[in-house]
Point group: C2
Chain length 414, copies 2
Amino acid sequence: MERKRGTVRDLRRDNRSVLLWSLYFDQPMSRQDLSQATGLSPASVSNVTRELISEGVVVEAGSVDSDGGRPRVLLRMNPDYGYVIGVDVGETRIRVELFDLMMTVRAKADYPLNPHEHGAGKVVDGILAGLAAVLADGAVDSSAVLGVGIGVPGVVEQGSEALVHGQTYDWDAVPLESMLRAGGTELPLYIDNGAKTMGQAELWFGAGRGAQNAVIALIGSGVGASIITNGSTYRGSTSSAGEWGHTTVMVGGRTCRCGSSGCLEAYVGAEAILDRYGSLRGGPPLPGDDQESALAALISAAATSPPAAEVLDGTVRYLGAGIAGLINLFNPERIILGGWAGLLLGERSLPAIREAARQHSLRQPFAETSIELCRLGPDAVALGAATLPVERLLNGAATPAAAGTNRSASLTTG
Amino acid sequence: MERKRGTVRDLRRDNRSVLLWSLYFDQPMSRQDLSQATGLSPASVSNVTRELISEGVVVEAGSVDSDGGRPRVLLRMNPDYGYVIGVDVGETRIRVELFDLMMTVRAKADYPLNPHEHGAGKVVDGILAGLAAVLADGAVDSSAVLGVGIGVPGVVEQGSEALVHGQTYDWDAVPLESMLRAGGTELPLYIDNGAKTMGQAELWFGAGRGAQNAVIALIGSGVGASIITNGSTYRGSTSSAGEWGHTTVMVGGRTCRCGSSGCLEAYVGAEAILDRYGSLRGGPPLPGDDQESALAALISAAATSPPAAEVLDGTVRYLGAGIAGLINLFNPERIILGGWAGLLLGERSLPAIREAARQHSLRQPFAETSIELCRLGPDAVALGAATLPVERLLNGAATPAAAGTNRSASLTTG
DNA sequence: CGCCTTATTTCATGACGTGATTTAACTCAC
DNA sequence: GTGAGTTAAATCACGTCATGAAATAAGGCG
């Protein structure tokens, strides 16, 4: 998100953007509050506000207070100014959700995916079907949609057309964007890595609110992370930053599915945990075909089963070491542990994880970091993806399309 | 380095800053070149340029070219607009260097430090003496000094007055800034971690030039790093970001001087390498009281001595794993290996280090990353520290003091 | 020496943010 | 009720800025 500078018009756009961000996260606010929060003069707030209201992005929402003076008029975002869609391309299903501007869900659609059949074509079909379904279900015209955010597993190469490199899916440079275009959609698309979109969801609405520097650590079958620096997602030079799972925590250790050895993921990923438990017991895998119930079973077994406890203790230790590395390197205000396996582990062992992290990190940065659990659950990928077009709106993209059937159209100003 | 926005005057400052950065790193340039490089209109370049010339920051430096048209007038920074001082507080000495704006050395001074006597008082005395010495030696009046950058070991807490937490020195919240003030200096001070200043030196003038995302990995007696994100040094929430040395690469491994175990530093720091070699041989430490010659001796012994070769091979492997972690997490364009021990290792084994890093990192980000050696040598700490006040100047700090005896003072404009 | 070419400056214009000033919208005491 | 008091918001006049267009400067070339 570069900020072009130069002309005096860009300045206006910047100020407008600052004001929108402020309002978005602190609704409702009076013009006066906004002036304080943004540092802009009351006069400027008044001007920018008029513009925003006439565009329909912002609406007045009643007045409040008055101990003797003119009451403050409260301002809100207009949730119906436009809609956004979030797509979560998961291992077993595609989920599509329609939100209004304030991220209230308006419609949902799920498309199951055969775990062993991840052809890009299937995924594209699922997404397109989901888009049509939520638009119909929510009774929203596509012209009112600001954009569609899509969270996918794997690295997304942002170019003129986004390319997806999916390790898990065995995708190699899949041109998802142009495939969707070929499928007929004309909605603005924002494609990003699912861990990053989920991180952004936590950053905006979950345990990360207000953080400038944070790492959202995600543990599912595999291990990933979303890195927040200076208040926004860090992507690195080719958008693959945050691949935390393949950090070496044990040189010469267990072989990882990435081909290397000693990776963090080879110890704390759900698959690895179950595998370690299996080889310790020497028996067959735990009950339940899916990892989720198997891991839950392992965790509840730990109370009585020494081998299960041993595996989990080891997991906590490796995880703590991995988190400590993040603390030392990034010096974040917050580490947020998520992903379905991360939540299972965290619910049982957060204090132990904190202690392990303490042991492996430097005193000073550790003392400045809080380690918490995600608040939004594992379904936040779609939510986070849907924030991408909202982010663009807040950053001042020119009114996209005519967006908004629901505007109060009193443009008679002056 | 926040960029305050709001008024139209800030816009001017921003444009001025963009122009200065461009000119600083691409001297000399004509106004036309600048217009192209910055995206500003020729008219604006002309205006801003006039201002800069009248202030004395920029000077015209001859014209060039002319295949039929008016020749381009070349512009340069005025190296004598003001001076900056860089201080390197090392383990065995304090080094103070005086530079002009283009970082040409004008004077140097060294103050030896007893390795076992790192009292803050001694250090402050040394710095103050050094400042006086270089100013005298360089025949520069203190009013012409834009600022003093000081690179120290340990974490620097940037508050209203910088506090230094030095692990190595056993410093705990030493108020270095106010101590120097109490010592009588009135020069603007910029205190930062030495690894970060060295990283900035490489970023500006060394192997990091032009990189937007890079990590400068420093190996000396200990191990540190300087992280560059989006073109500038990343500091994290309390400026301790970049503590790479205590990343766990071997859970339950060697005890580290930080108190934890399995830290990268416990394997690839010079002290650790020598220690590992010592315990492998079972004999006394290598010849040479200082680590530097001992490590050099170990490296040259590796050609004939199997134990030495074994230790170094292990070191390469651990180092590669550590670097791989940086590649995965940060997805940088470049990893730059430095520090005196890093250079010794790198000169002998860079290809092996690259290979080890490849084995432990993901294919895609590894392919996008080049791994190189530092170009400026271990003395770049002072140089990098001295860039701090220059950075401030380029970012558009109001002309600090009256800076510059050497200005052409024709301020008669319109 | 005049014409051509290219770099730089000048000029008029339109936007913008802001402090000061007005106007708007209420409360409250009487 | 009604006027004084109080606070929020809008308006105004002003100064600053970047910019495209036009003018000017500075050289080459025939």
